[in-house]
Structure formats: C-alpha cells, structure tokens
C-alpha cells in the first residue's frame, strides 16, 4: 500500500468515508513527511496543533455520516491567505509578526468542509516573482532535479512552496494564487496540476492583494480530479468580495466524463515563440495529437494581440500593486522602522517600506507609481487597459467561432536552477509568464497539466484555456489530456 501522504484527494476521501483510514493517521503521515522535508523549505509556518485538532473533528464528522469531500484532507496553505491566529505575511518582512484576527473566505470554506491545515507555504514576496527567490523565508526548492545533477532548481513561483509540497507528497493538495501564472507555472515546473479559475469564481477576501483585477485563487493538486474536488470547495459567491460572481458552483468532478468527442481545440499560432525549445514544441504537438485521438477537432486559431500581453501586464499589475501596497505604512500592522530623533511620519513611511519590501516588490511599486503619475497615466496605464480589452476580444472571437478550449505550452522551459537568473535583467524573469499571463488579462480559466519529461528528466506541462465559467468542461479536457499523457513520474527523494 502507498504511504498515506501519497494518496490523491479522491483516494483519501473514499478511504476516509469507508473508515478504512482516519483523518488523524492521514494527517500524521503528512506531518512526518513535512518534518522530513525541511530541505525543500516549502512549509514556512507549521501548524501541527491546528492540524490535529481539525483532523480529530473531521474523524468525528466522518463517523457521524455524510461528510463533504474535503473532510479530513490535509492541505498546505499559501502564505498569502490570511489564517486566523497564524502568521500570514505574504513572504514579506513588512508583515513580520502579523497574525490576522480573521480567516480568508477560501480557508474558511475549506475548513468548513472539514479540510486540515498543516501549515503555511513559501512563495515569492507578495506573489511577485516566478522562482520563489524573492521570499523573505529564502528559496523554496523543487523536489525534482536534473538527471545525475544535484543543482537545486526552482519550483517556480509565485506559488513555489505549494508546488514543491504537493509534488513531494507533503500534503494532498495546496492553495495557490495566480495573477500572471503563479499557479500554472509552478505546477508545470513540478509535474502537478494547477487551475486558475475564471475571475470572480473564488472570493479574494482575506487574500493579501497584489493586483486586484487579475488575482484569483485556485487548487494545486496531483491529479485533475483532485483539482475538481478542491476547486468545488473553494469557489462560490461571497458578500465580502464584490467581484465574486453570483453564479452557481457546479459539481466539477461530475464534469469529468472523459468524453471530448466533437470538441474544438484551438492551437494559437502566436504562441509559437521564436527560439522555443524543440522539446516544448514537440510536447505541444503531442498534446494536440492526444486530444485529436480522443475525438476532438484541432483547429489553428489566431490571437493576434498575444505578444502585447506581457508588456500590458507589467503596466497593469504594478499599477494595481502600487495602490494595494500603499496600506503597508507601519501604522496598523506589521513592521515599523526604528526612527531617529526628529523623524516625522514621512520618514516613518519611507524607512518602514524600504526595510520591509524586498527589491522586486520595491521595483514594482515604483513602476506602478510611475505609470499612474500625472502625465504618464494615459501613455502607459490607459493604453495598457485598452490593449487588455483587445487581448480579451481575441479570445472572445475564438470562442464565438466555436472553439471549446485552447491548448498551449504552460512555460517556455522546464525548471531552471536557483540563482541562474540572478544576473539577468528583470524582464528576462517576466518572460516566464509569456503563455499564462493572457489568461489573467482576459479573466479566463486556465489549467496546467503535466504532460511529459524533458531530456534532463524534468517535468513539462501543457496549458488548456477554457471559456469563462466553464471550469468543468475545461477540467474534462484536462482529464483527457492527463490520461492520454499518462504522466506518472515522481521526483526521486533526496531531501
């Protein structure tokens, strides 16, 4: 029998309901794995007392009969989610010591469904990064390594700790958030599944805000079925988030019929980038062939504004971030700089923010400040919002022409070495998001599915993009791709 921590959510649910395993045993197995994996630096605040208390409550609930699917399932929670009484600092020094007096809607819903929190997971500071190297906790490390090579690799970012923890079987699933690719890129780098839902599907309340018009939370899991189960528990309208949609949450798992006959899959020609590695190109073609074998029709499509998505994103996201992060001023919570004799409130703000924010966050706040400043607002911010409208229209036209889902690579490469990008200019790092960022700009659901290994033995992922509010149909496509690709590789345990 597999170790309990290696179970999928679906397997664990069935065993828990049969009372063949207890939530306490499952939780203990995960905590043992978690404690043996400090080398991955995935869990940055462990919460064993909370986990055991929740596991015992889950067992009581399971014993009394009908319990929700997530009841007794041990999860890791990204540090971006506010969890009551537990450090929640978005991997930033500026939130050092912050313990929220409230619970984010997503974690509350998961806990109401009986889920168990093992602890908080590493991430890039304020979710700004693609390698988990901007974290105040230090780098999270990918459980995968290149064949015959011990170089530590990035798990991707910003949800790097979530990806590493799920890939290394420390928990059965994890929450992630995705503003430009922060669920899908790390999922692809670690050989797991991650879905960013339609904007408005999941409440943002209690999640530390980065760019409010782009941020969405989603599940990171080992299988598509698990993503469907966990998303169902996270989603739904919330009076506390006025952008959460009053749209009923369907049974996503029930949508996994495995039948995609007659569906039209779009292959956008603009995603064929210059200098794309041959392995990625081949993976993409193989993925299309798998969907075709399953009875789908493959259609070449055009999304003409694709190449402008990254520059538009790097105007809009920093602009929103500069506004959202204005709240970190050393007054109400978090870090306050020690002041010198005669320092006034302006010095307090400036010193607090200089000490509290890391270099990438400072850079983005300042870029955002610049593009919103008088004289540049129209040239940068308004122009970017117009280009965003065009990017969304590209997708609308494709869907209006009958396309059901769009297949693209998830990332332009496999996981790179930690530190390898240290000397590159910031824009080089931003290119990691080239295939994912369009989806956030258009508010669409997108899922990364592990589809193969590259020549170095590292996982590669494909991305499927769906129609708004059709996560069920999207996950069904992903389920077909997952089955056809038959990705079963696991990282060899070295940690």
């Amino acid at each position: 029998m597999t170790d309990l921590n290696q179970l999928t959510i679906a397997e664990a649910r069935d065993l828990l309901r049969k009372r063949a395993v207890t939530a306490v045993d499952l939780t203990m197995a995960c905590m043992t794995a978690m404690d043996a994996a400090d080398g991955l630096n995935a869990f940055v605040h462990k919460t064993p007392e909370i986990a055991l208390e929740q596991a015992r409550a889950a067992d009581a609930r399971l014993a009394s009969g009908a319990a929700p699917a997530m009841c007794g399932i041990p999860l890791g929670i990204k540090d971006l989610f506010c969890t009551r009484g537990v450090p929640s600092q978005a991997a930033s020094r500026i939130l050092n010591g912050f313990r929220p007096e409230y619970e984010s809607t997503v974690t509350r819903k998961l806990f109401d469904a009986g889920a168990v929190m093992l602890g908080k997971l590493n991430m890039d500071e304020f979710a700004m990064g693609s390698s988990n190297e901007t974290s105040c906790y230090g780098n999270a490390v990918n459980p995968w390594r290149r064949a015959n090579d011990t170089t530590p690799l990035t798990p991707g970012g910003s949800s790097g700790g979530s990806a590493a923890a799920v890939a290394a079987d420390l928990c059965l699933g994890a929450t992630g958030t995705d503003t430009g690719g922060s669920i899908r890129q790390p999922a692809a780098f670690t050989g797991i599944v991650g879905i960013k839902p339609t904007y408005g599907r999941v409440s943002r309340w209690g999640i530390v805000a980065f760019a409010s018009s782009l941020d969405q939370a989603g599940p990171m899991t080992r299988t598509v079925r698990d993503a469907a189960i966990m998303l169902g528990a996270m989603a739904g309208e919330d009076a506390k988030d006025s952008t959460s949609a009053a749209i009923a949450v369907p049974d996503f798992e029930a949508a996994l019929t495995g039948d995609i006959r007659g569906k039209k899959i779009g292959i956008p020609r603009e995603y064929r980038m210059d200098g794309m590695p041959a392995e990625i190109e081949k993976l993409w073609a193989d993925g299309a062939a798998m969907l075709k074998d399953a009875g789908a029709q493959i259609v070449d499509i055009s999304l003409p504004h694709t190449r402008y998505a990254l520059p538009a994103y790097y105007v809009i996201a920093p602009a929103e971030a500069s506004s959202n992060l204005a709240r970190y001023d050393g007054v109400r919570y978090g870090h306050r700089a020690k002041l010198a004799q005669g320092d006034g409130i302006t010095e307090m703000y400036e010193k607090t923010r200089a000490e509290g924010f890391g270099p990438e966050v400072q850079r983005r706040v300042m870029i955002g400040t610049y593009v919103l400043s008088a004289g540049f607002y129209d040239a940068y911010y308004n122009r970017a919002r117009k280009v965003r409208a065009l990017i969304k229209r590209d997708f609308e036209l494709a869907f209006a022409a009958g396309i059901d889902a769009i297949l693209t690579p998830a990332t332009p490469s496999s996981a790179f070495g930690l530190g390898e990008m240290a000397d590159a200019d910031p824009v080089q790092m931003y290119l990691n998001d080239v295939f994912t960022v369009t989806v956030n700009l258009a508010g669409l659901p997108g899922v990364a599915v592990p589809a193969g290994l590259d020549a170095k033995g590292l996982p590669l992922g494909l991305q499927l993009i769906g129609r708004p509010w059709e996560e069920g149909d999207l996950l069904n496509h992903a389920h077909v791709l997952e089955r056809a690709a038959g990705f079963v590789s696991k990282p060899g345990k070295w940690w």
Binding site: A245, F357, Q362, G443
Partner: protein
Amino acid sequence: MSIDIETARRVAKLARIRVEEAALPALARDLSGILGFMEQLNEVDVTGIEPMTSVTPMRLKRRTDVVTDGNIQAQILKNAPDAREGFFAVPKVVE
C-alpha cells in the same frame, strides 16, 4: 522613455520608499529597462477602444448601507506596532 536619476528619486519619494543616493543610478537603469519593454504597447492601434474597467461584464454589486460589524477595537489594534489608549500611535504629524 528613459528614466534619469532625478526621476527615479521623485518616483521613490512618491512611492514613500527610501532609496539611498548611491542606489539611484541602478534603480533608474532598472526602471528604464522595464519601461523600454512596455514601449511595445505603442505599436498597437487602440483607436476607438475603451480602456477595460472590469474583466467580467458585471455591475459592481451594491449592499445595504448598514453596520455589519463592530465593537472589535481590541482585534483592530491587536497587530499595531504601537497602540495606546485605544488608538494607533504615530509620530507627530502637525507641528
């Protein structure tokens, strides 16, 4: 559009982030590089396009104008770096 040291200093001031004099040239270079990347947006014909205000076509919801929470002073102040007598304390603002 290239950012000079004076502009970098002004942006840092607007963002309320202290940047030491010695760090300004590198900051100006970084910001210039990122803005250069954004210049590509000028290639796009945006004539007649409205700037996006909401990614999903929705009216922002309204709620009844009533008090839904309150009497939680201790919780509000719990995480304050400096709270005194039921208030957030800050350095003197007005001389």
